[in-house]
Subunit: 501 residues, 2 copies
């Protein structure tokens, strides 16, 4: 017999999902299509929908239903009980914030965003600093309201990476500092890779066509999604049967388009692989930002910047751009796309330096939240860390502390998930190679289906059923270990730089 | 002092509008972008939003607020009182339908739509007939629940054309039968207009570019809208600052694209001209479908199929298509685009025969609703009327009674608004010519701003403040008169066919 309370829980969750996904359609449309004058009303419409979804989810009657099902749900299946448990957890987290606090926070976020835009325009951090100070203060207040064990930053992390703590992150980033910095230093002493040929004109339409082909070859289902252009590439979904990606095209090189396609394609394959029958339920949603990022990075780096993938796809690229790639072997090509060189801007970074960018942000935002660093001191601290970890001088605020939008949105605790994504990706991919002995041969032959099936079975289909930690242990036999990322990095870059191992 | 009750009324109306316009974004996206597999969930998401909007609007507490403001709103402005009056009217209309009735109706509409699709596929009306019988029955029931004076069809008309009755329509369509049929017969006896050159290949991209240019020249604001392609052209809006149009392109002729642009452009100019400050309120919404259609038809026919407009724009068209239009004078061109010839399909009809298509549908649906015609008899009745009024033999159901989607959607009472639109357009345009003595000279010079300002001032800015009848009298000094359409038709087609008047 079907449990009646569970049926109403499910219906309510589907309704909330309908509203949230509708808001997501409005956001997609804003990025891809919105005429200029439509922006203010669109902002209001989107806010109304998110407000409604929040109202339904945090309604005390709904909370009571969840509590009752949690208490008296012995007859439910394990998955149903897990959905109740996760929803109750979300309910408690969302409803413990006082509603006047939520209003204040959303006003500060809006103020922060506009201050950040103004500061970007002036290329002057001091324009943003007072708003950021307010944002940091309210995020501290949020941590207090949410409650936490240990560091207050732990409370903020939960929004993006549930069950992860500074304790775990401190260990990982300590490894970044000790192991990765040394390795990158060693690479810098090698003769540099030639990537000149990547920087020349590449026709826009041909890039677009190539990007679509790459997505198809990855297994992205164009009957359940589409690709469009937008200034900042992103993936968004309105259920697993409509998962959309965007890319951008730089006519002075095809790399930005290509790896944004592969990266967003990885995100999209995850969303397309979530169980449609669990629409609206926790088990129908992505697990965490770190796991989401593991899917994009696995395709982007562990697959898409490796020789087997390009042994399958380089001839197609050459068909599109015969002149530009004339005389460049696939090995030269793969070395070029993996050139290691420090940069000022996170999103332009190579795969290794990337984690120094995240390390810096992690250290800074933790210090801001614990109060050991003030927003007034932030600019100087930023520049000092870039000098120390990357060896670069920051010439101005736009290329420094103002480069990311995250803090302006009040998103403290988000950045670490990017590094977690890469580390999970390395560990997952090494397991996939063990489980699928022909994996690299298949990829070399242009067949990505075994890999996709492996991801579907081990990761996608579970949604939020397991925690990230449990999922990782379940798949690889061990919790997340930085060593596996280092193994991957050493093997790959030794080949790229022709080091004897 | 601001009236507190009015402020909450306004807030609630804005919230409802946010939800409805969000649903409209989902519908636009469905027509323009939706990947195939996304359709089922999208249908559910859209239904959830419309359901929510309905729930908020018909909430008894909201009804009580409206009743109270209606009773005790003496301190409100005339416009505020009008907004209350209209909203209360809408509330009463929407909330008098029992909720189980609404559920039953929506199930029958869904069944009807799928039966119509199946019937179209089989080219067989009998496949659709049982579902249509159910739809007619429930629309009769709806009329009873809504209440009416005189003919039950009056109750159904209100959804599309408030304050209009069969009494008024009977007079208009009697005029169509007596006056227009004779005139069209007379035209058919004349030597026929040569429009051969319209039927040849016209490049798709050039058509697209020309259509955008035409919209710009009409005054359509691309900062508050955009044009896209869709199988069926339509206009949709999410507030007056985001009003979108679509068109379609037939490569074997540019006429379908051009006049769909102008037609939808006319609809869009109306929506862009509604007062933004009244977002969500009746005075911020279009008046009726007939008035909406008057705006599209005025631009399409009274402007866009007349000589002055093409004296301004023909040279641009010739620039795009020099070969196809070589040796064709602007007069020949305008005669060709006004060729009168009976057709089987309403949406392919010329401007005059069009009203016989509507007359037939009006007579048939009125008979269905009053019960003097059964759905079993409908197919034969359709064919007989096409023979009688247009002189054509209907070869099959797809070209006959199955051609329109309206009845499958349960939209009985919609069709007459198309003819009302043309008749209002003729009357409005003649008034504009009187008010603006240089109007045709301005249009000939490519300047449409005076006309647009006249429409904005006389029609657009008022939203639903006046009834259609009052608006017409206010602008033209008289209620709607078919004679003014006949005057326009006679003058125009006498020129097209070279008749001595």
């Amino acid at each position: 017999m079907k449990h009646e309370g569970y049926t109403s829980f499910r219906q309510q969750m589907r309704k909330i999902a309908d509203i949230e996904y509708a808001a997501a359609v409005l956001e997609w449309d804003k990025e891809v299509n919105l005429p200029q004058k439509g922006a203010p009303i669109r902002g209001q419409q989107t806010a109304t929908l998110y407000g409604l979804a929040h109202e339904y989810f945090t309604a005390p009657t709904f909370g009571a239903l969840l509590a009752d099902l949690h208490q008296n749900g012995a007859d439910l299946s394990a998955k149903e009980r897990r959905n109740i448990e996760l929803s109750l957890h979300d309910y408690q987290r969302k409803s413990c914030l006082a509603s006047d606090f939520v209003v204040r926070r959303s006003a500060l976020v809006s103020k922060g965003y506009h201050a950040w835009l103004a500061a970007r325009k002036a290329n002057d951090y001091s324009v943003f600093e007072p708003a950021l100070a307010d944002l940091v203060a309210i995020k501290r207040e949020e941590a207090e309201q949410l409650g936490y064990a240990g560091h207050p930053y732990n409370a903020l992390l939960q929004e993006f990476e549930p069950n992860t703590t500074t304790q775990e992150l401190d260990v990982l980033f300590e490894d970044v500092k000790t192991q990765l910095i040394d390795f990158v230093k060693h690479l810098k002493q090698q003769p540099q890779v030639d990537d000149q040929f990547l920087h020349q004109p590449f026709d826009k339409d041909k890039q677009w066509a190539f990007g679509l082909e790459v997505l198809k070859r990855m297994g992205y289902d164009f009957q359940a999604g589409r690709q469009d252009l937008s200034p900042h590439p992103f993936t968004i979904n309105f259920g697993p049967s409509d998962v959309r990606v965007t890319t951008r095209i730089d006519e002075q090189g095809f790399t930005s388009m290509t790896w944004s396609c592969i990266h967003e394609g990885g995100h999209a394959l995850y969303e397309q692989g979530l169980p449609e029958a669990d629409y609206g339920l926790p088990t129908g949603r992505y697990l965490s930002l770190g796991i989401h990022e593991s899917q994009s990075r696995l395709w982007e780096n562990n697959v898409g910047r490796m020789l087997p993938f390009w042994e399958a796809n380089y001839s197609l690229l050459q068909e599109y751009f015969p002149k530009q790639l004339d005389g460049i072997s696939v090995e030269q090509f793969v070395r070029a796309i993996n050139k290691v060189s420090p940069s000022l801007i996170r999103i332009e970074s190579d795969e290794l330096h990337y984690h120094f960018h995240i390390l810096i942000r992690y250290e800074l935002e933790k210090a801001l939240v614990e109060g050991s660093l003030s927003t007034k001191e932030l600019g100087a601290a930023w520049n000092a860390k870039y000098k120390a970890y990357l060896g670069v001088d920051v010439p101005d605020d736009n290329q420094g502390v103002l480069q990311d939008i995250h803090w302006a949105h009040g998103s403290l605790g988000y950045f670490p998930t990017y590094s977690l994504g890469s580390f999970y990706a390395a560990q997952f991919y090494q397991q996939a190679e063990q489980d699928l002995p022909n994996l690299n041969a298949q990829i070399r032959a242009g067949d990505n289906t075994a890999l996709l099936s492996w991801l579907r079975e081990n990761i996608h289909q579970h949604g939020r059923y397991f925690t990230a930690q449990d999922l990782c242990t379940r798949i690889t036999g061990s919790p997340l270990r930085f060593e596996q990322f280092m193994d991957y990095a050493k093997a790959k870059y030794s080949w790229v730089y022709g080091l004897s191992s």
